[in-house]
């Protein structure tokens, strides 16, 4: 959310803003930007057992112009850097980024001294809102990440925290 250059409106309606935030949170449209292994877990989250549709986020749009959240799942290589930056710039405001998996957070298992090929983390390129650790993170972790993002938008968490029995 860091590149928000939106001028705040001159007359502000608190209730309307709350309604808009609730609407945005409940219908996040992710972009199909599966790069590597985490993409399969993202597909599994959208599939029948874990069902991301319950949270409104199953409409994966291929075009960045239609999306509001980019889920970066996979390692960003140096060759992919300009591509992913273009995609981020093409998304209209307001937009958010979820870094899914260790590679998107900090380069993951591919960081070694003298590495020449990858970018160590998506936050070196653009601001990230939610980090989901794991290699790959479970689909439940991605759902928790979406719920965290919804909480960030609306300032209240509508779904209960999972209790470990």
């Amino acid at each position: 959310m860091g590149t928000q250059d939106i001028q705040p409106p001159i007359v502000q309606f608190a209730q309307l803003d709350k309604l808009l935030a609730l609407g945005r949170a409940n219908s996040l449209w992710p972009m199909t930007f599966g790069i590597a292994c985490c993409a399969i877990e993202m597909m599994a989250t959208g599939a029948a057992r874990f069902d991301l549709a319950r949270f409104g986020a199953e409409v994966f749009r291929p075009s960045p112009r239609h999306c509001d959240v980019m889920i970066v799942c996979g390692t960003i290589s140096n060759k992919l850097k300009p591509v992913i930056q273009t995609l981020y710039d093409q998304m209209p405001e307001p937009k958010w980024v979820i870094a899914m998996g260790n590679c998107a957070i900090s380069g993951g298992p591919f960081v070694f001294e003298g590495q020449y090929g990858i970018v160590e983390g998506a936050d070196k390129l653009f601001p990230v809102d939610v980090y989901i650790p794991g290699c790959p993170p479970r689909p439940e972790a991605l759902i928790e990440g979406i719920i965290e993002l919804e909480q960030k938008l609306t300032n209240w968490r509508r779904w209960p925290v999972v209790e470990v029995e």
């Binding site: 060759k79 003298g114 590495q115 020449y116 090929g117």
Partner: protein, 185 residues
């Protein structure tokens, strides 16, 4: 049989040495050492015998010649010391005139396999490390096109006559060769 025919044809090419290998120890059955000039002839024979191309890769033998020379020097010294300890004679000067250290080499390894016969053959070619060049085989096996581009990416080996020797896996404008042993990021 096919492979016997092939082996016979390969021995006719100049500069080629063949070696039968036990498959259970190494995973391939025939080892062919060739020179850079005779690569095309070798691969043409292999193509006639109906093999398919599995992989092409390179190995950087930096420091191999120095290690071999050190081994030879150590052996010579040990032999001279043993000689001196045995007899009472004057120890003869070891015959290591320290020849000029030979240049290190890079090795290009081709793997071919057959769909029906049980024979994986490996062709090895050595080229000098400072000027690694050899002819392309992509006119015989179009699949070699990408393998050679990748080998060029990683080692800087030039394949003469290749239609499109631009980086395959590295960014288009890269000028470094990461799998060389003296590569620093």
């Amino acid at each position: 049989m096919q492979t016997d025919n092939l082996k016979h044809n390969l021995t006719l090419i100049q500069g080629v040495t063949l070696q039968d290998i036990a498959y259970s120890t190494k995973g391939y059955s025939l080892d062919v050492q060739a020179k850079a000039e005779s690569v095309l002839q070798v691969v043409q024979e292999i193509d006639k015998a109906g093999f398919f191309i599995e992989a092409i890769t390179g190995v950087d033998w930096l420091g191999e010649k120095a290690a071999l020379k050190k081994e030879a020097d150590d052996k010579a010294k040990a032999a001279a010391a043993a000689e001196a300890a045995e007899g009472e004679q004057q120890p003869s000067l070891p015959a290591n005139e320290s020849p000029v250290l030979q240049e290190d080499e890079m090795e290009i390894v081709y793997d071919f396999n057959h769909y029906t016969s049980f024979c994986r053959l490996t062709v090895r070619v050595r080229v000098p490390r400072s000027n690694p060049r050899l002819p392309t085989i992509s006119s015989i096996y179009p699949g070699a096109d990408w393998h050679e581009r990748e080998t060029h990416d990683f080692f800087g080996i030039k394949f003469i006559g290749h239609p499109n020797l631009i980086p395959l896996l590295l960014p288009e404008d890269s000028d470094f060769h990461p799998l060389l042993k003296d590569f620093k990021a």
